[in-house]
C-alpha cells in the first residue's frame, strides 16, 4: 500500500497536467519506479497515460517513439543495439512490460544501458513544460512531461556498447557506448558510477584522447564491491579499445 497517495488526477490535456504538478505530486504513466519506491512525500499522482502515445513510427531513418511505449515493445519492435540495451536495462520481462521509455528517460538511471545509449547518441526529446519544445537529452533540465523521443537509425547502426557484469544476465557495473560519425566519436560511460559521463573526440580517436577520457571519467568510477577504481579504469581502457576496434 502506498499510504501517502490521496488522489490520482486524470487530466484531459497536457496543459492541465502540467498545471497540476506541484511539490507533492508526480507524473504517472507505467509507474514501475514510483510504485516500488512509494515515496511518502508524494500525495498526488498525475496520470498522463491518456495524454501520451505508445506508438513507434519509422519514417526513413527517423524513428519516433511515444513516451508511453514499453521497454519490452522497444526490445521487440526495434532491432540492433537499442533492442539489446532495452533488454539489458531491465532483467525482467514483467517489468519491461510496465516500464515506459518516458519513465526510463525521466528517471535517468546511471546504470541503464538504454540511458547510456540514448545519451551517447544525444537523442531529441519532445517535452511539454507549459509549451511544446524539442531539446536534446543532454540539454534537458528534467522538468516537464516527455511526450516523444526521436532517434536516428543511422546513429543506432553506428553505435556500439560494451558492458561488464558479473554474469551476462546480471546488471552491468560498467557500461560504455560509442557513436561513430565520419568526423567525431561520442563516448558515454555509466554503470555503478556517480554520474554518466559523455565525451567527444575526433574520429578516429588517438591514444591521448582515450587517455584523457579515462583520466576525466576516473573520478566518476566508484570503489565498491564490484572492484576498485583502478580495476575499473583498466576495464574502461579495455572497453574503449574494443569500441574503437569494433568500429
Amino acid at each position: 500500500m502506498w499510504q501517502s497517495i490521496t488522489r490520482i488526477e486524470k487530466p484531459d490535456s497536457l496543459i492541465t497536467a502540467f498545471g497540476l504538478f506541484g511539490n507533492n505530486s508526480a507524473y504517472f504513466a507505467g509507474g514501475s519506479y514510483l510504485v516500488v519506491e512509494k515515496n511518502s512525500n508524494i500525495s498526488t499522482l498525475i496520470d498522463i497515460n491518456s495524454l501520451i502515445t505508445s506508438e513507434i513510427i519509422q519514417d526513413g531513418d527517423d524513428i519516433t517513439i511515444g513516451a508511453k511505449t514499453s521497454i519490452q515493445n522497444i526490445a521487440d519492435s526495434l532491432s540492433g543495439i537499442i533492442s539489446e540495451c532495452a533488454r539489458w536495462s531491465c532483467f525482467s520481462k514483467n517489468i519491461r512490460n510496465q516500464r515506459t521509455i518516458g519513465g526510463e528517460v525521466a528517471r535517468m538511471r546511471l546504470d541503464s544501458e538504454l540511458i547510456i545509449l540514448l545519451k551517447t547518441m544525444d537523442i531529441q526529446l519532445d517535452i511539454y513544460n507549459g509549451e511544446k519544445i524539442t531539446t536534446s537529452i543532454s540539454q534537458w533540465d528534467g522538468k516537464g512531461i516527455i511526450t516523444q523521443i526521436h532517434l536516428n537509425k543511422m546513429d543506432i547502426d553506428n553505435t556500439l556498447v560494451e558492458r561488464f557484469a558479473l554474469l551476462r544476465s546480471a546488471p552491468a557495473f560498467l557500461i560504455t557506448a560509442g557513436t561513430f560519425s565520419s568526423s567525431t566519436v561520442s563516448f558515454g560511460i555509466g554503470g555503478k558510477v556517480n554520474q554518466i559521463s559523455n565525451y567527444s573526440t575526433p574520429n578516429p580517436p588517438d591514444v591521448s584522447s582515450i587517455d584523457n577520457i579515462i583520466g576525466m571519467s576516473s573520478s566518476h568510477l566508484l570503489d565498491d564491491h564490484y572492484g576498485s577504481r583502478e580495476y575499473k579504469r583498466a576495464l574502461l581502457q579495455t572497453a574503449l579499445k574494443r569500441l574503437v576496434e569494433g568500429r
Binding site: 500500500m1 502506498w2 490520482i8 516500488v36 517489468i95
Partner: protein, 145 residues
C-alpha cells in the same frame, strides 16, 4: 470508481488510491498471487493484464480502468494450464512452489503469443521469476512441452 475485469468477472473498485493489485487480489483470497519481495524483483505476484505479464505488486488498482486481469486460479479453471501443470509435476520442476504460480503465468503469456518457443525465449520469459530452490533447468525443460 474503477471498473475492470478480473477472471471474467466485472469488478468495481472504490478504495484507497495507493492499494496495489497484489494486495487487492490477496484480500479477495486469490492466493496464487504470492507476496514476495513487494519491489518487483521476484515475479512471484505475476498476473496477466491484457495478456501481458506484470508484477501485481507494482500496479495500482486505480490504474486498471478498462483492463482485463487474469490470475492462475482462472487459468486453472479454464484448463489452459493443464498441460503445463502436468509437465511441471512430471519433470519435478517444483520444490517449495512459491515461485511456481508466477512462472506458470509468465509461460502462459509466452504460449499465447508463441506456441512453440525455443529455450532462449523460455529463459528470457522466466528471467523475471526468481527461483532459489528448484533453479531453472527443470522449469525450462517442463516448458518445452
Amino acid at each position: 470508481m474503477i471498473r475492470f475485469r478480473l477472471n471474467e468477472l466485472k469488478m468495481e473498485y472504490i478504495g484507497h488510491p495507493g492499494l496495489t493489485l497484489m494486495e487487492y487480489l490477496r484480500s479477495i483470497e486469490l492466493f496464487s498471487v504470492k507476496y514476495g519481495c513487494d519491489t518487483g524483483s521476484c515475479g512471484s505476484c505475476s498476473v496477466l493484464v491484457d495478456n501481458y505479464v506484470y508484477n501485481s505488486c507494482m500496479l495500482l488498482v486505480e490504474s486498471l480502468g478498462g483492463k482485463t486481469v487474469e490470475t492462475l486460479e482462472h487459468l486453472d479453471k479454464t484448463g489452459e494450464i493443464d498441460n503445463l501443470k502436468k509437465s511441471f509435476l512430471d519433470k519435478g520442476a517444483i520444490q517449495c512452489g512459491y515461485c511456481s504460480p508466477g512462472m506458470l503465468i509468465s509461460l502462459v503469456a509466452l504460449f499465447r503469443k508463441n506456441k512453440q518457443p525455443n529455450e532462449s525465449e523460455i529463459r528470457e520469459t522466466l528471467a523475471g521469476n526468481l527461483c532459489r530452490c528448484t533453479g531453472y533447468v527443470k522449469p525450462v525443460e517442463a516448458a518445452q512441452l
